[in-house]
């Protein structure tokens, strides 16, 4: 019987999600699960072909061989972004086979997955544990999904597998290049996407691991980002993704003068705060504003004659240019956004492929995210306590995934460059619609009309006290937004919980409720 309890962030959350008991959020770094990590089933080489050829004839054969049946959890990955075709094909086959109540465990979803709404409606898919963007988010927000969604960060996805919260029955890994044994990478082929880090946990922990490629090379496929020794089945298909959509248009420097202003102010803030110094490190995002900030960083570094030790995050032509110019010594790449990124990773030994294991995982023995000096992230809303929301819009609809966002909050200085309002809707609010990140971890908000520094960062306030940058309190920024836009009404929700937002440690930090329409 589901009851509601208040978690440490003051949010009312149910004791059960999808009839499974959950742990309420207890505060940052407070929850420490005991015991041993979840382990995959023991396998024996005697059960695999001695010639190393694990191929079956088709994706359907692979699913049959992997034992697809009702209620299973199927995982896929978003290395191909909006150019993914595999996830849709898997559920087409499942529907054709009459399988029901599957749980889809993607590392992220994209608009191309709107195709799956029919299976959510018909019951082939029971619910999604992963981001629900665009049409899927709207569908879920209207209370139409059978089960409840579970949203996790990239690190949280790894953590959930390691502590047994999610048991993956079948992992399907789309690989731009693979050999019949199952070694695979993202570096070569028509669908080259750089790296396959999001599939790492799945390859190690799933009961059945299937590698699918349209570019089967003779053994050995090198480098093996996915190790064939973890792979049960391989499949060769005609086409694995749509190359022009894999390299998506999201990685263009913004042309908006307002966003460029925000980017410029952010870079200037970092400079004046003394954060841009010899050997520093930064998180590089893929959004237009974030890319522009990287370019301004480059200008400052050239002027000062200094280098960054590493940049972490998504690689793209702009970051690669700085890297090959020598401004950045290492790229610790979590996601390759364009072909320049793929090329650089192929050619440059210090452009390294990383995974949520190295960078984000709560059950790791430390991770890279907390080593980064400057982290630039987005948000749909921030409240006056610096708490932030990335999954819902102010009108309550679920529209974005968490990605690596929660994990990156552990960086040394976390900055959110955001406009003060979007289409009349203020971004700074009294209380965020959905809590995704606690304000304790968020240091600076940069808007086109002013910069708010979290009062706990006295060091930053001290450094900027004589700055000509418009440093304001977050309350002042909120008042300014409301002066321009007017104070918004509150959206209305039903009591029904449609999705849970997990914190990086697997506890529930907040839930999303059904929209009243």
């Amino acid at each position: 019987m589901t009851e509601f309890v208040k978690n440490a962030a003051g949010r009312l959350i149910p004791t059960h999600i999808n009839d499974k008991e959950v742990v309420p959020f207890q505060g940052v770094g407070k929850y420490r699960p005991q015991g041993r990590k979840y382990a995959p089933p023991i396998k024996t080489v005697a059960d695999y072909p001695e010639d190393g050829d694990k191929r079956v004839a088709s994706l359907k054969d692979a699913l049959i061989k992997a034992g697809l049946k009702d209620g299973m959890t199927i995982s896929t990955h978003h290395h191909f972004r909006n150019g993914d075709i595999l996830a849709n094909q898997i559920f087409d086959i499942a529907a054709e086979m009459g399988v029901k109540d599957l749980v889809w465990y993607p590392s992220a979803s994209f608009p191309c997955h709107e195709h799956l709404i029919q299976y959510l409606e018909s019951g082939v898919i029971h619910h999604i544990e992963g981001s629900m963007n665009g049409p899927l988010g709207r569908f879920a927000s209207q209370g139409k999904m059978r089960g409840q969604g579970v949203l996790r960060s990239h690190g949280g996805r790894y953590q959930a597998v390691q502590d047994g919260d999610v048991h993956i029955d079948i992992a399907i890994i789309a690989a731009p290049c693979a050999d019949p044994f199952g070694n695979a990478n993202g570096l070569y082929g028509d669908a080259a996407c750089g790296l396959l880090g999001f599939a790492l946990a799945d390859s190690e922990y799933a009961d059945q691991v299937v590698v699918v490629t349209d570019n089967m090379v003779p053994f050995p496929c090198i480098p093996w980002q996915i190790q064939g020794n973890n792979v049960d089945i391989t499949v060769e298909v005609d086409k694995i993704g749509i190359p022009e959509k894999i390299v998506s248009g999201t990685t263009k420097v913004t042309k908006s003068p307002d966003r460029l202003l925000i980017a410029e102010m952010t870079a200037q803030f970092c400079d004046e705060a003394g954060l841009i110094k010899e050997g520093f490190s930064f998180q590089a995002g893929a959004g237009g504003t974030s890319l522009s900030i990287g370019i301004y960083f480059g200008e400052i570094m050239r002027k000062k004659g200094i280098k960054a030790r590493f940049a972490r995050g998504g690689s793209n032509q702009y970051l690669v240019k700085m890297f090959e110019e020598g401004l950045v010594e290492h790229i610790l790449d979590g996601q390759t956004f364009d072909l320049e990124g793929v090329r650089s990773m192929r050619e440059n030994p210090t452009h390294v492929n990383t995974s949520p294991f190295t960078s984000y995982n709560y059950h790791g023995k430390g991770n890279f995210a907390s080593l980064i000096d400057i982290v630039i992230l987005g948000a749909t809303e921030v409240d006056t306590n610096f708490n932030a929301n990335v999954v819902t819009h102010s009108d309550g609809y679920l529209l974005h995934g968490i990605g690596g966002w929660q994990n990156c909050l552990f960086g040394k200085t976390v900055i959110l460059p955001i406009p003060l309002f979007r289409d009349r809707i203020p971004v700074i609010v009294d209380e965020v619609t959905t809590l995704c990140g606690p304000g304790d971890l968020i240091d600076v908000i940069v808007t086109e009309r002013g910069i708010a520094v979290n009062p706990k960062r006295k060091d930053l306030l001290e450094k900027l006290k004589d700055s000509e940058l418009p440093i304001k309190t977050i309350e002042e920024l909120k008042a300014e937004a409301e002066e321009i836009c007017g104070k918004p009404q509150k959206p209305e929700f039903d009591d029904e919980v449609i999705a849970a937002i997990k914190w990086v440690d697997g506890t529930v930090i907040d839930v999303v409720r059904k929209i009243k329409e």
Partner: protein, 405 residues
């Protein structure tokens, strides 16, 4: 049945709305709203629309508002424009002039950059000021399609009241001829600082316009001066530049419009601008003779920042004291281009420092080493220093540290 419509809609439109209004014989006011911010601002949008209609005396109508995040003052402007397509009511619904828009301007202030914004596009008006241009121009003339001229007046009027200009000089470019004179009633009562008068060839026109401004000033009890910047855009205008510059009170600058000028003399406008050298020099001379600021034309390639910078440098060299811009990213480049170069500034500091010391010592003549410095030279360098201080290039107490060095 009377109908009216106003505004913009479509997938790319933001911060605006489109209003379709049908007056009815009975049944009260019925508002149908399509808005992506409906859940957060639906009630407020309807409230503003109803208040506007009530004020304008419309009691029964069907209204369709297709909204893409328009602010209250935009919604009110769109409703009023729609009503006034069929109603000749003299009632208006004008938002209060916000306290932050009540600041003053002065004749001598810097006008290095002035940013043009289309008068029928409210989105750009919201954030223009944060880019810190010296002036923001709400354009009723060439940037507004002929069919939209009427509705743009309401947007510009309401923007003058409600949109924050963040300290920029508040400018409007009016239409040519009679239409321009009609435009005045929409802007003069709302703290417009400066009126750009396009395609001026006849000093008489400015006098007539000034009379209408005086009439409106008296009627609305306005005491702050409204300044004028005539734009010269023809061969005849160039020949009459000095007469235009001295036509009436409150003319503070003379601008040149090179697109129309080059068309008028029948040549192509080039990036090196040899074809307009005479016109520009003549305009600079006329303005300086009249004691006002000569202002250069816009640079139309918004992607070419290096070309823009070169252009500004040349403009500065000819004696211009400002330039128009059509994209916020041009503002900083223009300011940088007009800024005194370090070497120049060093020389200015040396001369002004010597002048101040001479004055302190009661000397009538300023000299630097063995060289005498003439008073006009001192004056020019003082101006340069003042501008550098305003632009934040040097501290206002620069002399203290200068003497220590």
């Amino acid at each position: 049945m009377s109908e009216g419509y106003a505004g913009n809609k479509g997938p790319k439109i933001k911060s605006d709305c489109h209003v379709t209004l049908k007056q009815q014989p009975s049944g009260g006011i019925n508002i149908q709203l399509k808005s992506k911010v409906e859940k957060l601002y639906g009630d407020q949008i309807k409230k503003v629309a109803t208040a506007t209609l009530n004020k304008l005396g419309i009691e029964h109508c069907e209204v369709l508002i297709e909204d893409s995040g328009a602010l209250d003052w935009v919604i009110a402007a769109r409703i009023e424009a729609a009503v006034k397509q069929f109603s000749d009511t003299s009632e208006t619904y004008i938002p209060d002039l916000k306290p932050y828009n009540q600041y003053e301007t002065s004749k001598e202030r810097d006008r290095l950059s002035r940013l043009y914004l289309p008068g029928n596009n409210p989105k750009m008006m919201l954030n223009a000021g944060i880019h810190k241009p010296h002036g923001i121009i709400l354009d009723l003339e060439d940037a507004v399609a002929p069919a939209k001229k009427h509705e743009a007046r309401f947007v510009v009027r309401n923007a003058l009241c409600s949109a924050n200009f963040y300290g920029a000089e508040r400018m409007v470019r009016i239409n040519q001829g009679e239409m321009g004179i009609e435009d005045l009633q929409y802007i003069v009562p709302h703290n417009v600082h400066l009126i750009l008068i396009p395609k001026v060839e006849d000093p008489e026109y400015i006098c007539r316009l000034d009379k209408e401004v005086q009439r409106l000033e008296a009627r609305h009890q306005i005491e702050k001066p409204v300044f004028y910047m005539p734009i010269i855009e023809s061969a005849l205008g160039v020949e009459k530049a000095y007469e235009i510059a001295t036509a009436c009170r409150n003319i503070v600058a003379l601008a040149i419009g090179l697109e129309d000028y080059t068309a008028d003399i029948g040549v192509k406008r080039t990036s090196t601008a040899e074809e307009s050298l005479y016109a520009r020099m003549r305009l600079v001379n006329a303005a300086k003779a009249a004691g006002i600021q000569p202002i250069d034309s816009v640079f139309s390639d918004v992607g070419d920042m290096e070309g823009l910078f070169e252009n500004v440098r040349k403009s500065k060299q000819l004696g211009f004291e400002g330039m128009g811009c059509i994209h916020p990213r041009q503002i900083k480049v223009i300011h940088d281009g007009f800024a005194p170069e370090a070497k120049e500034l060093e020389k200015s500091m040396k001369i002004v420092d010597a002048a101040i010391k001479a004055e302190e010592q009661g000397l009538g003549v300023v000299s630097l080493g063995t060289k005498m410095i003439d008073p006009p030279v001192v004056k020019r360098h003082k101006k340069q220093i003042d501008r550098a201080v305003r632009m934040g290039l040097i501290d206002k107490n620069w002399q203290e540290t200068y003497n220590q060095e």
